[in-house]
C-alpha cells in the first residue's frame, strides 16, 4: 500500500484538476466555489458552516467540505445561492460524490460534485425581462 506523505495529500495534477473544476463551475453559474479537504474540528456541520462564513462572499458561495477520515461530506450554500440551488439538488450532487468517495475516488468525486452543483445552480436565461 502506498504510504501517503504527511505533507501534501494531492499531487500537482490532482490539484490542477480540482482547481480547474472550481474555475469551470464558477464560470458556469457565476457563484463562488471552494473545496475543503481535511479533518473537521468538532462537529462536521458547524465546522463546515464556520468555514463557509469566513469566505469572501458567503451569501454567494458554495462550500464543499470533505472529511476523508470521518467519511463525511458536507455542502453549505449561501442564501443567495440557495434561491437558485435548492437543497434537494444539492443532495443529488452529494449522493454522487458520496458514491465516488466510497469507491476511493476523492478527486473524481469532488470534480463531479462541483460540476453537478454548477449545472444545477445555472440560472435560467431570462428571455423576457420586461
Amino acid at each position: 500500500m502506498v504510504q501517503v506523505p504527511a505533507g501534501d495529500p494531492f499531487t500537482p495534477t490532482e490539484r490542477y484538476e480540482i482547481d480547474k473544476a472550481i474555475r469551470d463551475a464558477e464560470t458556469i453559474c457565476r457563484f463562488e466555489f471552494s473545496v475543503f479537504v481535511g479533518s473537521s474540528e468538532g462537529e462536521a456541520r458547524p465546522f463546515a458552516e464556520r468555514l463557509h462564513a469566513v469566505l469572501a462572499a458567503p451569501a454567494r458561495s458554495v462550500l464543499i467540505m470533505v472529511d476523508p477520515s470521518a467519511r463525511i461530506v458536507e455542502v453549505v450554500t449561501g442564501a443567495e445561492v440557495r434561491r437558485v440551488l435548492d437543497d434537494s439538488e444539492v443532495k443529488l450532487a452529494v449522493l454522487s460524490m458520496q458514491s465516488a468517495f466510497a469507491a476511493g475516488d476523492l478527486v473524481g468525486g469532488v470534480t463531479q460534485g462541483l460540476s453537478m452543483l454548477a449545472e444545477h445552480a445555472r440560472r435560467p436565461r431570462m428571455l423576457h425581462a420586461d
Binding site: 500500500m1 502506498v2 501517503v4 471552494s34 475543503f36 468555514l51 476523508p68 463525511i72 458520496q98 468517495f101
Partner: protein
C-alpha cells in the same frame, strides 16, 4: 319510391367503373408476383463435406490461449492506469494528509478559528446544503 330514387342517383356514380378498373390494375402486380414465385427447392447434400482435422494445439490456441490472453490483456489495461497513478486514498484508510482548502481565504483554516463563532451563526441564517457519510 321517391326516397330510393334519390338514393340510386347517389349510388350510381359513373366513375365507379373507372375506380374498379384502377383497383384491379393496382392489385395485378401483387397477384402476379405471388403466383409466379416458384417454391425454392434445394436438394440436401448427401454427405456433409469432410472438415479438415484440427490439431490439439490449434484447438487449445483458439479455445484457451487466445481468450486467456484477451482476459489478461483487458485486465491489465483496466488496472494499470490506477496503479500508475498510485491511488492515495483508500476508503478504509485514515486520512494522513494536511487539510487543504481550494478557493479558501489566504490564511486557510486559521481564518475560521479567528472568526467569531457566534457571529458566523447569525451572519447567514438562510444557509442551505446537504450532507452525507460513506
Amino acid at each position: 319510391m321517391p326516397r330510393f330514387d334519390s338514393l340510386c342517383s347517389v349510388m350510381t356514380d359513373p366513375r365507379s367503373a373507372v375506380r374498379r378498373l384502377a383497383r384491379a390494375l393496382a392489385l395485378t402486380p401483387a397477384i402476379l408476383v405471388t403466383l409466379l414465385a416458384a417454391p425454392a427447392l434445394a436438394s440436401a447434400p448427401d454427405t456433409w463435406p469432410e472438415a479438415p482435422s484440427v490439431s490439439a494445439f490449434d484447438m487449445l490456441l483458439v479455445l484457451v490461449i487466445l481468450p486467456g490472453a484477451l482476459f489478461i490483456g483487458i485486465s491489465v489495461l483496466v488496472f494499470v492506469p490506477s496503479m500508475a497513478r498510485g491511488q492515495k486514498y483508500q476508503p478504509g484508510q485514515a486520512w494522513r494528509g494536511e487539510s487543504t482548502w481550494f478557493g479558501g481565504p489566504q490564511d486557510g483554516v486559521e481564518a475560521a478559528d479567528h472568526a467569531d463563532a457566534a457571529e458566523a451563526e447569525t451572519a447567514d441564517t438562510d444557509r442551505g446544503g446537504a450532507s452525507a457519510r460513506w
